[in-house]
């Protein structure tokens, strides 16, 4: 019985490897999307601010806006998206197998995923990192002072591994309290079962804003112990599609840099600025280079908004999560959001 199962598993893995190889040559996702008239976009099954259905079952979030932006630039209509909610395990295979056209599901950009998994990462739409939150009354000023403190952490995540790595590297004594469910991790922290809680900083900020009885009693420590660049992914094999997705998202950042918003983009069509003229297709060429309509970026900005608008609406201070821009501010404002010139 066991041998039969093992043989089956082995042959399955070989088959997957072969298929993954053959799919690298297949392609034409771009043509398929245009012919279908609908973008199939993989998203999270429910992560508020990034991708989650609202009370009416409509998908909302920063990742969802990436799908909408690509649909707007390729199809001219941000609403032409079919969302496929994916679990963490299923997300990469769904992309590799062609079930979805692109993946915007807070996926960390790593070397192995970019190479061996047969994927291409386009643009980072959120720079995240793991941090710590403690009660202000404890008086801890930095993560290095956490030696011997009990730390609440969700089990089975890279968060748990990063925590162990960080404490070992800094020769600190670690007393983790590992809990399976995220809600219970935060509940345990607020119940005083541990001195500190660790998770991605975006999550900690959301927890502080929404779950803490008094948000001002808690402080997020300045140390960021891991890099989590969350990026939009396509599969190997269709370079034109890769370009289109990459530049559709880049146009949102470029629009913010140029001060274009969904509200003023119509007025900006008569702008004398040559960069704006190129971006909005008043001076043609960019759309043709991508194989898109010259109005591609105009549609993105008009229907979805610039990156800053999307950020504020979904995760920023104007949203329920109330995250500061931090690393996700434009490069001109001390952040990492930067695009190559659109020309």
């Amino acid at each position: 019985m066991e041998d039969r199962l093992r043989a089956f598993v082995t042959s399955s893995i070989i088959a997957i490897a072969l298929l993954a190889g053959s799919q690298a040559q297949a392609g034409a996702t771009f043509d398929a999307v245009k012919a279908r008239g609908e973008l199939v976009c993989g998203v999270h099954t429910g992560l508020f601010g990034f991708a989650a259905p609202d009370d009416k079952g409509v998908w909302k979030g920063l990742d969802v806006d990436m799908c909408r932006a690509v649909a707007a630039s390729v199809l001219g209509n941000a609403g032409k998206v079919r969302y496929v909610p994916l679990s963490a395990q299923a997300r990469l295979t769904a992309l590799q197998s062609g079930e979805i056209d692109m993946l915007a599901r807070n996926t960390t950009w790593t070397l192995t995923r970019d190479t061996a998994n047969g994927l291409n990462f386009t643009n980072v739409n959120y720079y995240d990192g793991q941090g710590f939150m403690v009660r202000k009354s404890v008086g801890v000023k930095g993560a290095k002072e956490l030696s011997g403190a009990t730390v609440c952490v969700q089990t089975g995540t890279t968060t748990e591994l990063n925590l162990a790595d960080y404490f070992r590297a800094n020769k600190l004594e670690l007393k983790p309290v590992t809990i399976e469910k995220y809600e219970e991790v935060t509940a345990a922290y607020f119940a005083g079962r541990c001195d500190a809680i660790t998770s991605d900083v975006s999550q900690l900020a959301a927890v502080r804003a929404n779950d803490a009885p008094t948000p001002a009693d808690h402080v997020i420590l300045p140390e960021i112990i891991s890099k989590e660049p969350l990026a939009v992914v396509v599969r190997h094999g269709d370079d034109q599609w890769f370009d289109v997705v990459k530049w559709s998202i880049a146009s949102m950042v470029e629009a913010e840099e140029k001060g274009l918003t969904s509200a003023n983009v119509d007025a900006a069509l008569s702008s004398p600025d040559p960069t704006v003229k190129r971006l909005l297709g008043v001076t043609p060429g960019m759309g043709a280079a991508l194989g898109l309509d010259e109005k591609w970026a105009y549609n993105v900005i008009k229907q979805v908004g610039n990156y800053g608008e999307s950020f504020e609406r979904n995760v920023g201070m104007g949203s329920k999560l109330q995250l500061p821009r931090g690393l996700n501010a434009l490069w001109t404002q001390g952040g990492l959001m930067y695009t190559a010139p659109i020309r």
Partner: protein, 383 residues
């Protein structure tokens, strides 16, 4: 005893026999012990020292838990509030969460303005089940009723004709999805399981090996891994761009899994039929199928009702595992409703709401199976 003389009147016989009865009356326990509340309590709750201790412990537990629960769930609960801050201020349960989110929890991603369609479909489905529960309605027209009901439900859910907009299965969710998974799972798995159980007892080696192999393979893996195979492995084996509908993938996984388990329950029923029944059927010259369908299965399935219904109930609850494929069943929508940050602290209420719905259906199934058992048992006694 000698015959009484004919001249004696019946009254005299009665009078004579009354005397000893009078004596018995005096020895009986005082009437207070029978029928009164105190008497009942003495007999059932405080009959011995261990019994008394258990009674006191249970009473203490009830006193400790029930009033705070009522306080939390009803007295101090917030029933209606657009702003979750009101819930935070209150001590009790936040049923306002259900008020705000019930449509999403019940119908998931289904287009908001079309929610009447899944609502109507669920209502029709429940009515059809209720009608089928009465033995008086077990007539051929019931099958027709079911075909019509399911047809109308499918029409309502899918749409695409009669002016209804088309809704793809990816957007189905909540209670209708859970019911579809459970109902299709039960209806399709049951016949397969009977075939498998018969196959396992077959005298043909190939059929037997195939049935045993299938049952053991499926029973050897958890449902979650069957679903995982369906969601992660199957797409890799298909050519690029060819995808099998997610709902169909989940259904196939659930049907195969349930069939394997049910087959063992049915086999248990088959094994309990005495040899004489088989021999008697053979002696009558019945063919294998006549024997199986007319003699063996009716008896075997009746015996196997408890394990079969057990499997149905467990499968109904297992449908919540379809989140692994990214389908929004009832439990997933209850969970997803909680991703909205201001409402996040009130997960107990959301899970209770979903749990209550699961419980209602499961409890109904278990009670109905008891009724069915008693009814079929009564039939056997009359015969």
């Amino acid at each position: 005893m000698s015959q009484p003389p004919v001249t004696q009147t019946p009254d005299e016989i009665f009078a004579r026999e009354e005397e000893p009865v009078d004596g018995l009356h005096k020895e009986e326990a005082p009437p207070r012990a029978r029928g009164s509340v105190l008497g009942w309590m003495q007999a059932n709750l405080f009959s011995s020292i261990p019994n008394t201790l258990v009674t006191i412990a249970c009473a203490a537990l009830l006193v400790i838990t029930v009033p705070p629960l009522i306080q939390w769930a009803f007295v101090e609960a917030v029933w209606s509030a657009a702003d979750p801050a009101q819930c935070r201020a209150a001590e009790g349960a936040c049923w306002a969460l259900i008020e705000q989110k019930h449509r999403f929890i019940l119908f998931g991603l289904y287009p908001f303005d079309e929610h009447w369609r899944p609502l109507l479909a669920v209502a029709l489905f429940v009515i059809a089940i209720a009608v089928s529960c009465f033995p008086g309605f077990w007539r051929p027209w019931l099958a027709v009723l079911w075909v019509c009901t399911l047809g109308i439900c499918a029409l309502l859910m899918w749409g695409g004709i009669l002016g209804l907009t088309f809704v793809e299965t990816e957007r189905w969710g909540g209670l209708p999805l859970t019911l579809i998974l459970a109902a299709v799972g039960i209806v399709c798995a049951f016949p397969i399981s009977i075939v498998l159980a018969l196959g396992r007892r077959s005298e043909m080696p190939a059929v037997r090996a195939l049935s045993v192999g299938f049952i053991e393979l499926i029973r050897g893996v958890p449902l979650i891994s069957v679903l995982f195979m369906a969601s992660v492995m199957v797409p890799l084996f298909l050519p690029e761009g060819v995808t099998v509908n997610k709902l169909l993938r989940a259904l196939i996984g659930i049907v195969l899994f349930t069939a394997a388990y049910l087959a063992e329950a049915v086999r248990g029923g088959l094994q309990s039929i005495p040899r004489g029944q088989f021999e008697a059927a053979d002696a009558l010259g019945l063919s294998y199928w006549q024997k199986t369908v007319l003699i063996i299965l009716p008896q075997a399935l009746k015996i196997a009702i408890p394990p079969i219904v057990n499997q149905f109930i467990s499968m109904f609850k297992d449908t919540s595992l379809v989140i692994i494929i990214g389908l929004f069943d009832l439990l997933t929508t209850a969970k997803t409703a909680l991703t909205d940050p201001p409402w996040r602290p009130f997960y107990v209420e959301s899970y209770l709401f979903a749990g209550l719905i699961y419980w209602a259906f499961s409890f109904f199934m278990s009670r109905y199976s008891l009724f069915l058992e008693r009814r079929l048992e009564a039939g056997a006694k009359r015969a």
